[in-house]
């Protein structure tokens, strides 16, 4: 009985101990709750948001590039793409088969679609075909009942209406490569494209705009439940260029099969109206992704479609350099307007014979006539008298020998040699013979077509330091520009010579003269050899250009301006291996005429 009592007491005391134990354990639970829900709440709140919120970047529409008359040079086109969502069809294969009846798919394409379907969750749309035409879109929509799970997506694709004709100016966009600076999260988006050349590259940042973002709530399987926040970002800025697409197209078309470069600019404001380098690449192809084969074809083409010849091509300016030589000589006083030289077709300096392009010679001529006939002997002698350093100094005043810094990639600085340069470059003193050939723009002298256009514009506008630009300018007064230190009388003399080149019966470009309501063109031809003519060949008769292989033919150049009386347009044309300067003069004349005609048609009727 006593033990029974004990048994009851033990039960009660032990039960109480057990009860206390339970209380303690439940307090541990509450302490743990406190630790997780108060002490570590912020950490877990963040993790919970990371779980549920998926942020997507929104791509802003890229800014449109317009020409001076608001015609689109680069725009965004709707790109229609057909996709399939596996979970919305009962049988993926049946749907694909039905699709193939409407639009054939290659085996490789079908393989890729199936691979993508396997890799992704069933609600993710998988691309079947993109760049669909309107017709194809209509066909798919018409057959929608037979195509469960197929949907049409709309995206934006960069489109260049002028294609290769404006490619050297506008450039193109393409996928971000590993070398590009990743300064913007937009660049991390698969398929995002950035400017790789031309204006697209130069104004990449304003054109790109600012990316927006979309915050979506997703569930554990990644399905979107709802939109939490949306920020559309900022669309890219539009850019208006100085280019006139009508002249741009005309210039490109005038080249035909020829390759070369042409720049037509406003001689007073510097606005570039046409900027052509041919042959060029199609920026639309570049943007959609170019195959390795296509790329190497472009790269290995002997006419270098990927090189912007207007900026990156350095050529001997040839006779187009003679204005600079004339100005240097007049300013130095080594010749006067009346000074005459006798051209016998060749001259001797030491052991070397220097030939004029005209074998029989020009006889006695002055500087204006020498320009008109492009007499080489006159300029050999003049160059010899004035010396290379003064020529170089004059050339630099007119924009040669240094980059224009127009902003596009791979601009070259050309080369204007002088005695110091020769020492620095070769460690040898300047030779007199080198002055002679520099006097006709050959030898070391190199210029890019844009530099030649600049030089011409500065002569045409009466000696103002105009700088070419792609930006559309509001009416700019030429007198706001810095004046080049040159006597107007000398410029007038040179301009008279250039007038005679085109408009005087004996001028080298007489055949290409233009006359539009009395507005005439002035200019200067140039022909530069790319091969040396040997003594033997000279004796046996110089080969005709037509008989030479393309890559050995002479380069043809022409610089000019119009109208002569009140110059507005300056032009530089280079036709690679174009045989003779008149090929370039013909092209320049036609383009200037077109520009004048367009001007006339746009004049308000009074």
């Amino acid at each position: 009985m006593n033990r029974d009592n004990d048994k009851g007491k033990v039960l009660i005391s032990r039960s109480l101990i057990l009860g206390v134990g339970k209380l303690v354990l439940l307090l541990v639970i509450i302490a743990r709750l406190y630790y997780l829900q108060v002490y570590q709440a912020d950490k877990y709140k963040m993790l919970a948001d990371e779980n549920r919120i998926s942020t997507r970047l929104l791509v802003p529409p890229r800014g449109i590039i317009y020409d001076r008359h608001m015609k689109e040079l680069a725009t965004n086109r709707q790109n229609f793409q057909a996709s399939i969502v596996a979970e919305q069809t009962t049988n993926v294969q049946e749907t694909l088969d039905a699709f193939k009846k409407i639009m054939p798919l290659s085996e490789a394409e079908e393989e890729k679609i199936k691979k993508d379907l396997r890799k992704n969750r069933s609600f993710v749309p998988i691309k079947i075909k993109d760049n669909l035409t309107w017709e194809e879109v209509a066909k798919i929509q018409l057959n929608a009942p037979d195509l469960p799970g197929i949907m049409i997506d709309e995206g934006l694709l960069r489109y260049y209406p002028l294609g290769e004709k404006a490619a050297p100016v506008v450039g193109y966009v393409s996928s971000v490569s590993d070398n590009d600076k990743k300064d913007d999260p937009l660049l991390e988006i698969p398929g995002f494209k950035i400017g790789k050349a031309g204006i697209e590259k130069l104004f990449e940042h304003p054109l790109r705009g600012k990316g927006g973002h979309l915050k979506l709530e997703v569930n554990a399987y990644g399905r979107v439940m709802k939109e939490i926040e949306r920020n559309d970002g900022v669309s890219g800025e539009k850019i208006e260029l100085s280019i006139d697409s009508r002249l741009q197209e005309k210039a490109y078309d005038l080249f035909g099969e020829e390759s070369g470069a042409a720049i037509l600019m406003n001689a007073n404001s510097g606005e570039i109206l046409a900027f052509v380098s041919t042959p060029a690449y199609d920026p639309n192809v570049m943007t959609q992704g170019i195959s390795q084969k296509e790329w190497s074809e472009l790269n290995n083409n002997e006419r270098h479609p990927l090189v912007n010849k207007a900026l990156s091509g350095q050529y001997s300016p040839g006779s187009t350099f003679k204005m600079v030589v004339a100005l240097a000589a007049l300013e130095a006083g080594v010749i006067t307007p009346q000074t005459r030289s006798f051209c016998a077709g060749k001259m001797m300096l030491g052991n070397h014979t220097f030939h004029c392009w005209k074998g029989f010679g020009h006889g006695y001529i002055n500087v204006v006539q020498a320009l008109e006939h492009s007499c080489d002997i006159f300029f050999y002698e003049t160059a010899q008298k004035v010396g290379i350093n003064k020529i170089a100094e004059m050339a630099r005043r007119f924009g040669l020998g240094d980059k224009i810094n127009i902003g596009l990639e791979n601009e070259k600085s050309g080369l204007i040699p002088d005695t110091d340069w020769k020492i620095r470059r070769f460690g040898e003193p300047w030779q007199q013979g080198e002055s002679l050939i520099s006097g006709i723009g050959q030898g070391y002298v190199l210029a890019t077509p844009i530099q030649l256009a600049t030089m011409t514009a500065r002569i045409a506008n009466g000696g103002y330091e105009v700088v070419p630009t792609f930006k559309k300018a509001s009416e700019q007064n030429v007198t706001e520009l810095k004046k080049i230190d040159i006597a107007p009388a000398y410029l007038d003399l040179v301009k008279q010579g250039m007038y005679d080149v085109v408009n005087s019966q004996g001028g080298t470009a007489y055949a290409h003269r233009i006359d539009f309501n009395g507005q005439k063109m002035s200019g200067k031809t140039g022909t530069t050899q790319v091969r040396r003519i040997t003594m033997k060949e000279r004796q046996s008769g110089v080969l005709r250009q037509e008989d030479l292989p393309w890559h050995l033919r002479n380069h043809a150049l022409f610089v000019g301006y119009a109208p002569h009386d009140n110059p507005k347009y300056a032009i530089a044309v280079l036709v690679e291996h174009g045989r003779g300067g008149s090929v370039a003069a013909d092209l320049a004349g036609k383009l200037l005429l077109q520009a004048l005609k367009l001007d006339a048609s746009e004049q308000p009727v009074e």
């Binding site: 009660i12 709750l33 829900q37």
Partner: protein, 379 residues
Amino acid sequence: MYKFYETSFKSQTPTLKEKLQNLSFSYIMFILLLASIGILMLYSAANGNWKPWALNQGLRFGLGFAVMIAFALTDIRIFMRYAYSFYFVALILLIVVEVTGHIGMGAQRWINLGFMKLQPSELMKIALVLALARYFHSTPLQTIESIKGLIVPGMMVLFPAFLVMTQPDLGTALMLVFTAGAMFFVVGVQLWKFGVVILTAIICMPIAWHFLHDYQKNRVLTFLNPERDPLGAGYHIIQSKIALGSGGVFGKGFLNGTQSHLNFLPEKHTDFIFTMLSEEFGLIGASFIIILNFLIIAYSYSFALKSSSYFGKLVAIGLATNFFFYVFINTAMVLGLIPVVGIPLPLISYGGTVILSVMAGFGIILSVYINRNINIGKD
């Protein structure tokens, strides 16, 4: 066999009217409150739908409530009389599922009764408490304190625990052992014996490890380091902690738990329902549930202390302890304090047998209280 001492009981046996008056109103309110919260959480778990869980749970709770009242009104001596029989029935059912489980596919823990699936292991939780209580009721303290006296009750625990473990249901097996252990403790088994058992268990652990199923090993390893496999075995516990922690003090609001409603939280209607509750109602809601459960346990204790019979006391404490282990193991597991063992939170988690067994337990505890004045003699 057991004998009735009819004459001495007459005055102590309450009438039906007295019984109904003695039903503890507060105790029943706590249970109703807990079950109501559970049904609301299931409504939330289905993203604001009564189907598929909340309505079903309500019906089962109704059935469970009827069972509780019926058991509460039953004479405590009936439970004592049929304690062993009930135990053997439960044991046979356990063997049946063991055998059919081997014939069927993999783990089978239930017998299909048509309207519900009966889990014999749930029956065993109550049967074991009753059987042990009857055994200790009629065993003198000297026998309890002797090694020999522990052989029979030890077998009574280990046999079903072993069967449940091979199902395999480690959580329920542990609950049987823990509940029985707690009863051994309260009846006065010396502490050093517990020491010996615990020490033996620790020594045997490497051997036991060998017998664990791969998924059980995984659960333990994952518990020790959830980051070990964040998308696989560790996923549940990591997501559970994120859900709990992000709930903060006040929670995200009813139906607004992101972790649960966006399906980051697995098993949100069963084992991890406490996590969802904590996400939606915060520290305040979670603590309230713990306190409510503690009150139920505390009331059960007070009923036990008021009972004049040893059997009654021990049954009430045993059943309360069983209930406690449900609550503690489930919450500790979702809080990442112990490995995930698959124990539901009673009255909140979705599941029919658990509701029935827990409600039956409450009914017996109420019966202990109602029949507190009945003094049951020794066998």
